[in-house]
Subunit: 416 residues, 2 copies
């Protein structure tokens, strides 16, 4: 069985040996005490390195790397209608495959081993993730007003559920209330329940979203309306939730919804001000997402952590809100748990997903490792990425990356 022993690595301020067997952490013990037992076991010198949980990106649109940097600093509707939707209308399946591979390369380099996706040509993003060794939850995306493919989507779920049961899973992903009818939304909820699938949806991203609902909400807020249709449950991953009332927060807490918070995207698009402290006070689970590269403009969860923490402090007027440790948990364990993964923590029995950080980088010279990781570093300090017990990146090298970058540039770059 596959064995990797990471020797003398800093884990929670202690130098430890970490033994991976198969796809789990088999043993963790003081440095110098563990041995491998398999003849082909690999050993990694962990000295001058810290081991931290890898990132779980709970809301993104991976393939949108193809439109990064093409339309910034414009109002949301102009951005969608003039730049994004016309480009998306011309996208082929192969385009999505190439752009998804490019996105996953960026994710691995910046420490992300899981992403929850919502986009078109879903099987191509799934193929890219499967080939490249990361985990993903691929949304089967519903948007009545843009595409008339709901029946086909539901059939896809029924026929393919068994093929998406391990590292690559499915979610039911109705895009939003302003792109789907009440009837379609209800059926999504039924499928989510019947097949035990996450329900991934944009909710209350912009002010007055209820006024643009395909089916009139009759005065209900987006959260109340979705609740009335059965879409608010412990399987729900609601992206954004920028505009919520006290009553909405009570519903979200009672139903044990996860909020996928995307600070960079919300700020860049001026969507509104997310109220982190109120979510925490209500005990609502918050995880982090980068959103797509067109509205962020990267997929870098380290940067997202700093934005999340600093935004929460500023918005609440309380510098003790969302400490570095809490922020790291949000970007790791909370995301993993949301999607039913026994991961996000470096502990025996957990899925072997982890990052090694290079402590020789100057920003780690003083102070707390987690503080420096969240507030001072950037993703270039990541030396090694492990997912499901396998090395995806070592010394910042990812096998096959040159071809993936070349394919992407040949297809999408105007300058290459």
């Amino acid at each position: 069985m596959n064995q990797i022993l990471i020797r003398s690595v800093l884990l929670d301020n202690r130098f430890s040996d970490v033994l991976i067997e198969g796809n789990v952490f088999k043993a963790i013990a003081p440095a110098g005490t563990l041995r491998t037992t398999e003849p082909d076991a690999m050993e990694i010198d962990g000295s001058h390195r810290a081991i931290v949980p890898a990132f779980y990106n709970t809301h993104t649109h991976a393939a949108m790397t193809f439109c990064r940097g093409l339309s910034d600093d414009v109002p949301l509707q102009v951005w969608l209608e003039k730049y994004i939707w016309p480009r998306e209308a011309r996208l082929s399946a192969e385009d999505v495959y190439v752009a998804s591979r490019f996105a996953i390369l960026e994710m691995i380099r910046s420490g992300t081993v899981f992403f929850a996706d919502m986009y078109w040509h879903r099987t191509e993003t799934a193929r890219a993730a499967r080939e490249m060794g990361v985990r993903a939850c691929i949304g089967v995306t519903f948007a009545d007003v843009l595409k008339k493919d709901s029946d086909e989507n539901f059939r896809f779920i029924e026929e393919n559920i068994s093929a998406y049961s391990d590292r690559i899973r499915l979610a039911v992903a109705p895009h939003a209330i302003y792109t789907n009818s009440a009837e379609s939304l209800k059926r999504c909820a039924e499928y989510s329940e019947r097949f035990h699938l996450p329900l991934h949806i944009h909710v209350a991203e912009t002010v007055g979203e209820e006024n643009r609902s395909v089916t009139p909400t009759n005065g209900l807020s987006p959260v109340e309306y979705l609740d009335s249709l059965g879409l608010i449950s412990e399987r729900t991953v609601a992206a954004h939730l920028v505009h919520v009332s006290e009553k909405d927060l009570q519903i979200l807490a009672a139903r044990r919804v996860t909020c996928a918070h995307n600070p960079c995207s919300n700020m860049k698009l001026s969507s509104g001000t997310f109220q982190m402290k109120r979510f925490l006070e209500h005990g609502i689970r918050v995880a982090l997402g980068t959103d797509g590269a067109a509205s962020n403009n990267n997929l870098d969860m380290r940067e997202e952590m700093k934005f999340a923490s600093l935004l929460a402090k500023m918005t609440s007027g309380d510098p003790t809100v969302l400490s570095a440790t809490d922020t790291l948990k949000m970007a790791t364990r909370n995301g993993a748990e949301t999607f039913g993964l026994n991961a996000g923590v470096i502990a025996e029995g957990k899925l072997a997903d982890a990052l090694l950080l290079d402590l020789d980088v100057p920003c780690f010279a003083t102070g707390d490792v987690v503080s420096n990781w969240v507030y001072a570093a950037n993703s270039s300090v990541i030396d090694t990425v492990i997912c499901d017990g396998k090395l995806l990146m070592r010394y910042r090298e990812i096998p096959g990356s040159e071809e993936i970058e070349r394919d992407f540039r040949n297809r999408f770059s105007s300058r290459s």
Copy 2:
């Protein structure tokens, strides 16, 4: 005379040759058209590179790298009184030299060639900057309530002004109204006028600052009070300005003050919400600063740009505010002009300060270079740093960096 020819580099979307002679840009012309004339001229292949202005950090405390990551997520007064001030009280001149060198190394790696500093043991920070080739404006720091050295400070200015006239200059730097009496502040203003020095001061960083003023302000806001004492002029660099009234903004605009905006520090310390759009509407010049590494927690102006732009969009509710181009100008040209440097733009006759960015990095594969630099990249894409016509970093290598890092770790690291 020192000559550097950068061949075929992307400048404002055109491939150009850029010739540096002495410490200025001598000529800029279409790629393939320029030649060097000096026998020992250096040539740099600029292909796959973009040339952009280097950063001018208008508010920092360089030596505070020594307390990075030691005290995060605590209220401001606890942070100052329990962690920062006790540590600073024990600092030696050599400590400041070592920590300043370490800070300047971080600045160069992240593209900063100038910093406006305010700290103790000023000559040590100046020495570090002079040796390492960057520009600096060293604040002669006044804080009556902490140190009784005002007379000595004024004498230092009189005696040393001529020694600080080129790359390393002086500023009069009264710390704040809550650390200096009205009398001392007035005398600072007189020295700033008499010696044509910038007046660098913290203003309105936290709410109710006027209530903690050493000399009662008699109901005046910090800006009004400082104006009444003669400290608000075109030489004033006012850091923070988070809490300002409409009347304050009118005063700042009329007096042509520069605001040194520090988004990360303000957000991390929950100081308040900076109103960028109102400053721009009043035509007030805004430049960027990182503040010290203890409250940010890095000196990375690229990250500061993204925070500044996204914060301005969120706060104003207007995604068109502070475009990528405007943000880059704020971090470069605005800072240079504030300190009287004919720099911050890549153009003939300007001081030869610049960065080369590696366009082979994936985030530059599509879209606009400036957008990608501000929103998508991180500072590891900087390949080369030029200041005053000299190469400070090439292929990410900085001569002497190992010794600087070792000295710092030996003195300050608990883990080395």
